[in-house]
């Protein structure tokens, strides 16, 4: 039994599992699930996106943001306002939301360049509150406490996507897929390595020639853009937004998902979101205690499993591309003398 189980976890099966999960997600609505369950699935999807974004900043780069609801809000508001006032198509409005969220995060990141660790977190917290105050006070634009209503549903090629025709659900899947892919591409590159190096040891990263400030800003912008996209999708899905959705509690929920799932993992974001969004629905008797539970998650995870539920290290070997394997095989085990770097031509000669 033990053996079968551990055999099932072998890396060669991973692709199969992932494919199975994706197929299940695609065919799920065809099973005739109630709209209520679909709604929950969509909310899980939105929070998985948000967690994915925060993960780039907090999980990989080690910068804890306590004000991420601000970018979620900016994406939602910009997109909703453009769609309601200028009748822009959802996808264009979303793009605008992403851009504005990115710009605002750039401004925040540039002003807080000098801050590290806890100080940075507190500054993001303050920023989140300031953005909420702006949403509340800038009435001519944001409509203040009255919020934005009648936000059009997303439509694709003239076809309106609703909950009933499963369009919203599939849009969520596509968005989550795109965001996951982008994160995957970024993490598996020098950018991703720079992020992780900064998290592991910022000073050592500087001595690797990594322009740490620049990469931290980049992480901020990527992270905020994703939150902006999620916000825009949320606004068009829910169709009414007001400042009360984007509070400190929302930021903490995002952070709890990242920490519970496992900072610096992909799987953790989906599972973390699924657990934290679905659990208050499933365990209604705990509803009054849900914030206590969020709090407990933060405390207990930090105490006993800071890497998160799914935060184990991969035991698979490092993936060398075919090209690399061939180059190395050609070389065989010949003796290598290291020579210092002298000029461009020799730089990458093996």
């Amino acid at each position: 039994m033990k053996n079968i189980l551990s055999q099932m976890l072998l890396p060669q099966f991973h692709k199969f599992y992932i494919a199975a999960i994706i197929l299940t997600l695609i065919f799920l609505p065809l099973l005739g699930l109630s709209q209520y369950v679909l709604r929950i699935m969509i909310m899980i999807g939105i929070y998985a996106m948000l967690a994915m974004g925060l993960n780039m900043l907090t999980g990989y780069t080690g910068q804890v943001s306590l004000g991420h609801a601000a970018f979620y809000a900016i994406g939602a508001y910009v997109s909703a306002l453009l769609a309601t006032t200028l009748q822009l198509n959802f996808f264009i409005a979303m793009l605008a939301g992403v851009v504005v969220a990115a710009i605002s995060s750039l401004l925040l990141a540039l002003t807080t360049l000098r801050l590290t660790g806890t100080y940075l977190s507190i500054a993001t917290l303050g920023y989140g509150e300031i953005i909420r105050m702006i949403l509340l006070n800038w009435e001519p634009v944001t409509n203040g406490p009255l919020g934005v209503r009648n936000i059009p549903r997303p439509s694709f090629l003239g076809y309106e996507l609703t909950l009933a025709n499963n369009g919203i659900y599939y849009l969520m899947l596509v968005l989550l897929g795109i965001i996951s892919l982008l994160c995957y591409l970024i993490i598996n590159s020098k950018i991703g390595r720079a992020f992780i190096a900064i998290k592991e040891d910022e000073l050592a990263a500087q001595f690797m020639g990594i322009k740490t400030t620049g990469y931290k800003v980049l992480a901020f912008v990527i992270s905020a853009s994703i939150a902006g996209a999620a916000g825009s999708f949320y606004a068009h899905m829910i169709r009414y937004i007001d400042p009360n959705t984007f509070t400190f509690d929302t930021s903490i929920l995002m952070l709890s998902i990242v920490i519970l799932g496992g900072m610096g993992t992909f799987r953790g974001m989906y599972v973390g979101a699924a657990i934290l969004i679905a659990f208050p629905e499933a365990l209604r008797f705990l509803a009054a205690y849900r914030f206590v539970v969020y709090g407990l998650i933060l405390v207990l995870m930090m105490r006993f499993r800071p890497q998160g539920l799914l935060g184990w290290r991969s035991s698979n070997p490092y993936r060398l591309s075919k090209q690399v394997s061939e180059m190395l095989a050609q070389e065989g085990n010949r003796e290598i003398t290291l020579k210092p770097f002298e000029g461009k031509e020799e730089a990458v000669k093996g």
């Binding site: 976890l9 709209q35 919020g147 829910i238 799914l310």
Partner: protein, 380 residues
């Protein structure tokens, strides 16, 4: 190996958790009983605003209990289904789906905040589910659709009476407006301001807004005092009005204060003490009324829950009554018919005579109340 086992256990644990969660979400559709009429209550039962949601629940359950004692409606037992929306739009949207998925439910009493109600109401409207919010105050709320009703005072009507209190009952004309920055507070302040500007006899000396979360009103008080206000119209709940009155009366004991029915709660007196003496407001529900119906309601409420019902709670109580009466009048649980009945109803409830106008706003009659010797008394 141990590591692997740990990993497997984590996987299994997580899989179970997710399964349980999903089953939990899906599994409540359940028993379909023919002899039951369900009405849903949706509001914040937990969190910051739980006092209001719990008030809804209490009130509706009390009303349903009374009906069931009389044999239910259409010969069927009435059952209350309670949903906690945590005062969050995200939650409310999901709950709305859940409610419309249960064909036994004929109507919803809720939600509490306008913003939350308005996230849910498109779902109700599309699925022809009747929603009566006892509290929503957003001006656009009831125009979300013909199944969407509001059993709350219409701001303009209430504001007019508030001003009339200031002029005629209190004899003041230099008016200051204090409002909380919520959809209701901002709308109320805006409407009141327009009314004052339209009236030559009145003088708007200062207008202040505050955000909930701070209890310090000294800055606003100083501004009002300097502007020479002799009456302040406070568009806030009891939890704003009471501390504001306290802080203001320390500086100027002669100030007159006008509130709105939202602030009509025994907690106002509990929190405000002497400072709220003389605070006057328009109300549609008066717990000290000599009307025997109201007296028995207040008595039953106190008996059951240990405290006197507030105005908002009483509106929830009437909302349930209105819905049940409409079912009775329609003679069926067909929601379209019940909706039609709702537009025809003239309900004599504890919050006065109520009927809905064409967009589904309740039209109410108001009385005036003031605080005297630590109790609410009617102003004649």
């Amino acid at each position: 190996m141990v590591k692997k086992m740990k990993k497997i256990i984590s996987y299994l644990l997580i899989a179970t958790l997710v399964m349980v969660s999903l089953i939990g979400c899906a599994g409540t559709a359940g028993s379909k009983a023919e002899s039951v009429v369900k009405i849903a209550v949706a509001g914040p039962l937990t969190g910051d605003n739980s006092e209001y949601g719990i008030g809804f629940k209490n009130a509706v359950e009390l009303m349903v209990e009374e009906w069931n004692e009389r044999g239910g409606v259409l010969g069927k037992t009435i059952q209350v289904v309670v949903y906690d929306d945590k005062n969050s739009g995200e939650e409310a949207a999901a709950i709305a789906e859940k409610i419309v998925g249960d064909s036994d439910i004929v109507g919803v009493i809720g939600h509490f905040a306008s913003g939350v109600s308005m996230v849910a109401s498109p779902t109700y409207q599309e699925n022809k589910m009747i929603e009566i919010s006892p509290t929503a105050s957003h001006p656009d709320y009831s125009s979300e659709g013909d199944y969407i009703f509001r059993n709350n005072s219409v701001i303009s009507a209430e504001a007019e009476i508030g001003l009339d209190i200031a002029i005629n009952n209190l004899g003041r004309t230099n008016i200051g407006i204090l409002s909380i920055k919520t959809d209701w507070g901002s709308s109320t302040a805006g409407i009141t301001k327009d009314l004052i500007l339209a009236n030559d006899k009145l003088n708007l000396v200062a207008q202040e807004e505050i955000i909930e979360g701070s209890d310090d009103y000294s800055a606003a008080v100083t501004k009002f005092v300097n502007a020479g206000a002799d009456v302040i119209i406070v568009a806030g709940m009891y939890n704003t009005l009471a501390p504001f009155a306290k802080q203001y009366k320390q500086v100027n004991p002669d100030i007159a204060l006008v509130g709105f029915s939202n602030a009509y709660s025994y907690q106002l007196i509990e929190l405000g003490g002497e400072a709220v003496e003389g605070v006057t407001f328009p109300i549609s529900f008066f717990s000290g009324s000599t009307d025997p119906e109201i007296q028995s309601y207040v008595q039953r409420y106190i008996e059951k829950y240990g405290s006197a019902p507030s105005a908002l709670t009483s509106q929830a109580y009437d909302s349930a009554g209105i819905l049940l009466q409409a079912i009775e009048n329609a003679g069926t649980t067909d929601r379209e018919k019940i909706k039609e009945e709702l537009y025809r109803i003239n309900y004599k409830g504890v919050t006065g005579d109520t009927f809905f106008n064409a967009i589904g706003d309740a039209q109410k009659t108001y009385v005036r109340a003031t605080v005297k010797n630590g109790a609410f008394v009617k102003v004649e």
